[in-house]
Amino acid sequence: MTDIQIWTLVFVGITFSLYIYIAYASRVSSTADFYVAGGGIPAPANGAAIAADWMSAASFISMAGIIALAYNGYAGSVFLMGWTGGYVLLALLLAPYLRKFGKFTLPEFVGDRYSETARLVAVLSAIVISFVYVAGQMGGVGVVFTRFLGVSPTVGVMIGMAIVFFYAVLGGMKGITWTQVAQYTVLIIAYLIPAVAVSASVTGNPLPQIGFGQILGELDELQRSLGFEAFTEAFTDPRYGMQNMLLITAALMFGTAGLPHVIVRFYTAKSVRAARYSAVWAIVFIGLLYLTAPAVASFSKLEVLDSLNTTPSGELPGWFSTWADVDLITGPDGAPLEDLNGDGMFNYTGGASDIANEVAINNDILVLASPEIAGLPAPLVGLVAAGALAAALSTASGLLLVISSSVANDVYYKRVNPGATEKQQLMVGRITMGLAILVAGYLGINPPGFVGEVVALAFGLAAASFFPILVLGIFWKKATAMGAAAGMIAGLAFTLAYMIWTLEIYFGGAGIAGIPPTGIGTIGMLVNFAVTIVVSQFTPKPSEKMQALVEEIRYPGRTKLVEEHLKEG
């Protein structure tokens, strides 16, 4: 066993024991605790839990690499602005009002506000979006275990499943929330330490968010000389011109605001005011990682380009061979690594260079290799592995809770057996959660080839289905049940059809005006808004009582109508 493996085991062991201990200490016995932690989580803790829930394996492991490599710098801003900007919409337009409405799940709001049909569409969408997401998380767990501990991905995913099973099934939302607080702490420390160390050693400024400005000039220069477009320049890639940058960013923003597993977190706040402050804490905690990611991207890109193009292949730093060994660094298009021009180096060059490119680097390794790239000792490499696992597991557990509450609350309790006791509901919730973990694990071990694509597309689908009817449901008393159902179906159908038409794995069509499948959700959202508004004009208005209730949630304090609505369950 190498030093790195030993330290990884140590950190993973310590953090996993901590999660299990927390779960045991906060085990629950009521449905309110199970679904929303009894609404009794203080704002800073809730903020940290939201942040951990929000930041998935994609944010922690992949984002910096995607910015640096796949999107070559500036264009990667779509993810930075999209994911954090969507949070602003959530905090201002949705969170306080949904908290006031006071139900457990997103389908519950949709069902109460509109109709049973709308509830059903919402349940289905929530479950599909959550499963797509959770499969990605389990896959991330597999990557980390394979790379750092040398076990097979299957064993890795199974260990992850067992841990999640233990604390999610036992502790429900309460256990998950407190575990996520611990997971946020682990993941942010793991992310910041290598970034601070690199920034301090390269620029002398320990704040990577400011320090990386100093190397941008050098990086642009180096990229140009190697035949890449400049890192900081905008619109150099025709796929990411101004129109598409706007559309993709907007799709990510509006989609993020409509993700069911994040919205439900605001129900765990003590009051409307606590919901607002949970949002403040969460954006601060999320911002810390998102402000650091572009710095990690720039520092790593510079180091990678520099070492590959100036160092003979035999003398490359350790991270190169560790990742080449597991085929995450290969030749172009997955071919074996080969020194094509015989200059003794693996050249990493862009399309405009005279020297042919000899290297392809997987987006996911940039962050995992960041401690080694920074020349940090083995214990820190282990810490990053534990951080990546924390990011993946925290998001997975939040998603599993959405699946379980959708089935147990929205389907079983509301439709199948309205007379169910607390105990029966809890039992159904736990069984659903267990089954969901098994399905998620299966998807993590045998990922359908299209998962990666679909995760990115889930945002477009969420934007086109949920966002408009949530906003209209809150701000427009006269939005009708049929309007919302028609809007959701129109938005979803339009967006799905365009995605299937343009995605390479399906028809590979050219699309309209070069709009990529990742950006079409923005147009789908506008379609949904238009259809909901038009159909609402011609269909039966919501009941007087519902209109009055929608009015009530605009004002502070718990009023009689809201009180009654909550009692009706």
């Binding site: 929303v36 710098g73 930075l80 954090t84 337009l93 968010q209 400005g213 706007l246 911002g287 605009r554």
Partner: protein, 92 residues
């Protein structure tokens, strides 16, 4: 709260929201994308300004927007004497 107060409260809420969302769109879609080339002519601490807005500035402004929203809404609640928040959990 009487009906007049309610209306005033809701208007103030909407005004605050509209202002904050206008800033939200200006820094991200505006400074980060539409005007990025022009802003990139200016360099501060090594950052071309448009690039900085797209990768740092917009996020910093987003954080500020949410803080301002929470603080201003608190003040609004207090002004209308509606700051006795229910601490009860979600009933079922």
């Amino acid at each position: 709260m009487n009906p007049d107060d309610r209306q005033a409260y809701w208007r103030a809420n909407l005004r605050l929201m509209a202002t904050l969302l206008a800033i939200w769109a200006l820094v991200s879609f505006g400074a980060g994308i539409i005007f990025v080339d022009q802003l990139n002519q200016i360099t501060i601490l090594g950052f071309p300004l448009g690039f900085w807005f797209a990768q740092q500035g917009s996020i910093l402004v987003f954080i500020a927007l949410i803080v301002v929203y929470a603080v201003r809404m608190d003040a609004l609640d207090k002004k209308f004497g509606a700051d006795d928040y229910e601490e009860g959990g979600v009933s079922h």
